[in-house]
Amino acid sequence: MVSRNIASDLLLIALLTAFQVFILNRIALFGQYIPVLYPVFVMFYPFFRNQFQFLGLSFLLGLCVDAFLGTWGINAFATTVIAYFRTIIFRTSTDTTTDFFSFQSIQWTQFIFFIITSIFIHQFLVQFIEFFKFNRFFEILFNVIVTSIISFVFILAYTLAFKIKQKV
């Protein structure tokens, strides 16, 4: 794999934003559920790199998506949350107590659990902040779950296509 630097990260952000905004947002499955793919940048960013740069880039990615969708700040908020808590999500989805993180070393089930947890937290934050109506809790929760499942399929396809689990 090409060694990643800030320039390739920025390029990846631009590509993911364009893909999310111009292609995925026009696929509304069953009329209303939009698959979300761009958090893969946050989920599969290499471990043991500059954490400040990672947080900043995650925020930038969310903000780029927001800028195109007109939902200023909402995606940026959710993306930064999963970026900051990524190691905690990773630890809870595996039972490792060491400080060694890599996707190669874990089981497929643990890997899938990690993806589902991340995308669920992300969608939960995005949709609840976006609708901002607490009296429609279950309606929104149902929406979150369906969107998470659809997004999970897309993310799994992405990981298989780019062989993420074997590389990172």
Binding site: F52, F77, I129, F131
Partner: protein
């Protein structure tokens, strides 16, 4: 100070995270309309709650002055009553309701406690809320014309989307003389005029023609005054008239307003729902 610095250097990543989240929260509450209206309703309610107490306090200080005023007024009235010969008795009139139709609209009066006209989407707050029977999507009219639509209510206050809102307000209005209807919206520059579009080019227009609401939505009754035609030109893109309407009610000095309650709204809603169901059935 030293402790603070040590905290920052130890938790630099956490501080950076909090900083990014604060930026996002500021963006969320300043750029998204749903969150904005929530915040505006809460601050307006708090604002009027505080100023209510202040008003009550100052009214106590004014009691003596008010008392003196009342005594002089009372004196004048007594002079009027006892000091003069009575000339004519008041006549009472009784009006019979000959039509006997059911009532469709009722009105709740209220006072504006907070108002703005200088933003792109404007709001004002009135001192009537859920407990007085106000709920969202009710129209608000002022003595001389339409004023807005209720979007959020608390127990005793309501937040109203002013007609001066560029994206949020589209009202169906018609020319009183010819009966043609179009869409009324605000361009966002002048608080005294709104724009009536979708009027076909062959409709004759004159400066000074009256524009009224047409009761096509269940929000405003038909025939409520909107304003008068101040100027018109053909929109080169659509080929329809672009009519600028001078509002008869000055939104900038709104004080007393009436909230329109449509008693038949649920019934209208029901028939609309059957239409939707029919369209859905036909589509399948």
């Amino acid at each position: 100070m030293g402790a603070l610095l040590r905290f920052f250097s130890k938790n630099a990543l956490f501080v950076f995270f909090i900083f990014l989240q604060l930026v996002a929260i500021v963006l969320i509450f300043s750029k998204n309309s749903m969150q904005q209206s929530f915040l505006a309703a809460k601050t307006a309610a708090f604002n009027s709650w505080v100023s209510g107490y202040i008003d009550e306090g100052t009214s106590y200080l004014k009691l003596k002055q008010i008392n003196e005023d009342l005594v002089t007024q009372n004196k004048a009235l007594m002079k009027e009553l006892y000091g003069k010969e009575k000339l004519d008795k008041p006549v009472f009139r009784r009006v019979y309701d000959t039509i006997g139709g059911g009532q469709i609209y009722t009105f709740v009066d209220g006072e504006v406690v907070f108002n703005s006209i200088n933003r792109k989407d404007n709001y004002f707050t009135i001192n009537r809320g859920r407990l007085q029977g106000v709920s969202s999507k009710m129209g608000v009219i002022a003595p001389r014309g339409i004023a807005g639509i209720v979007i959020n209510t608390t127990d005793n206050y309501s937040l109203v989307q002013s007609v001066l809102s560029t994206n949020k307000i589209k009202i169906s209005a018609s020319l009183k003389k010819s009966g043609y209807f179009g869409t009324l919206s605000w361009k966002g520059d002048d608080s005294r005029t709104m724009t009536l579009s979708d009027i076909p080019k062959y409709v004759p227009l004159k400066v000074g023609d009256t524009v009224v609401t047409d009761g096509k939505s269940s929000i405003f009754p038909a025939g409520i005054m909107v304003g008068t035609v101040a100027g018109y030109q053909v929109d080169s893109k659509t080929g329809f008239w672009d009519v600028s309407v001078e509002l008869s009610e000055k939104i900038g000095k709104l004080s007393t307003v009436y909230v329109v309650r449509n008693l038949k709204k649920s019934e209208v809603q029901k028939i609309d729902d059957t239409l939707k169901a029919q369209i859905k059935k036909d589509g399948q």
